[in-house]
């Protein structure tokens, strides 16, 4: 066993062990911490794959940003109080997850003996009779040959591909707009409105309700109590 294999097995144990802890523990805060450990282990896998950029990005985004967001949300919602680890369908969930795991193993199974993409059933299903070496114009590693090293300039190549019209420019710009929308939406949803805004809102709702009632009376109908936006008023009062 080489040292890399040993490191890989160690990392795999850390990843899977902490992931199992994440989905079974009662304590949400510890689950979040263990999730950070999982992410750290995955960053280690990226190092073994010789992709330093993504190992660092993994630490920066998943540990430094997403986990922090999750911990803030745990604190904001009092999420770990009296938490039950499983819901009623946990057994069914375990069975489903197990079945999917075996399906995945069956799918990836052929790769144990061959990495010839052409002979891999899934690819030939998608590509049909066309040679998969042509799919996407990508230069695949030929089977049985040593894997070429990552190019020295892979970061620059990646950066160039991101802003290249023929490669990933469109998704790159779409990401910017997506993040824009996400930020606006999340702030709108999560933000507590200021008292002045709430009062203004309630006044507007009351006016609308009054107008509606007036319109109904003019139409010869009895004002319906349910037409008042009861729930909306209650929820704004809750803030």
């Amino acid at each position: 066993m080489t040292i890399q294999q040993a490191i890989f097995i160690l990392l795999a144990l850390v990843i899977l062990g902490s992931a199992i802890f994440v989905v079974t523990t009662r304590n949400l805060f510890r689950a979040a911490l263990m999730m950070m450990l999982t992410f750290f282990g995955v960053a280690g896998l990226f190092v073994l794959l010789e992709i330093g950029l993504f190992a660092v990005a993994q630490v920066l985004i998943y540990i430094g940003a997403i986990s922090i967001l999750i911990i803030f949300a745990v604190m904001l919602t009092r999420g770990m109080q009296g938490m039950v680890p499983r819901n009623s369908q946990a057994t069914a969930a375990a069975v489903v997850a197990g079945i999917i795991f075996f399906v995945l193993l069956l799918l990836f199974g052929p790769l144990r003996t061959t990495v010839d993409v052409a002979r891999w059933p899934v690819i030939s299903l998608i590509a049909g009779n066309a040679s998969p070496r042509d799919v996407g114009g990508i230069q695949w590693t030929p089977a049985g040959q040593p894997i070429p090293p990552v190019p020295e300039t892979y970061i620059a190549d990646f950066g160039r591909a991101l802003v290249d019209l023929n490669q990933y420019l469109l998704p790159f710009l779409l990401i910017a707009f997506l993040v824009d929308v996400v930020l606006a939406g999340a702030i709108f949803v999560a933000r507590q409105r200021r008292p002045a805004e709430v009062i203004e809102d309630r006044q507007r709702q009351a006016e609308e309700a009054a107008e509606e009632a007036e319109a109904m009376r003019q139409a010869g109908m009895k004002p319906d109590a349910a037409a008042l936006p009861e729930g909306a008023v209650a929820s704004t009062a809750d803030h």
Binding site: I70, N87, L104, L111, F158, L162
Partner: protein
Amino acid sequence: MQNVLNGIPLWWYLVVSSALFCIGLYGVLARKNAIALLMGVELMLNAANINLLAFWRYLAPASSGGLAFAAFVLVIAAAEAAVGLALVISVYRVTRSIDPEKLDQMKL
């Protein structure tokens, strides 16, 4: 003939990522807490990223495709967490509960 990098064949990565994916899936299906559920989703997205990058490294390291997709997955994961947690916080403020099974006001 296998393609092996540093003594590690490709399918090792695939097994780890499949297992991580299924653990995350179990978390999504079986947890009784919306935040724990989102943690499961993050684990699943991470598993997808391992797959993307492992395939890229073993099969097509000369192109930038795998890197670009992995980066986009990273961004989407962050976006998903941000919106999901904002929703959880806002739901909690109204109902004082983050149990997804209790959010059934829309049911007839």
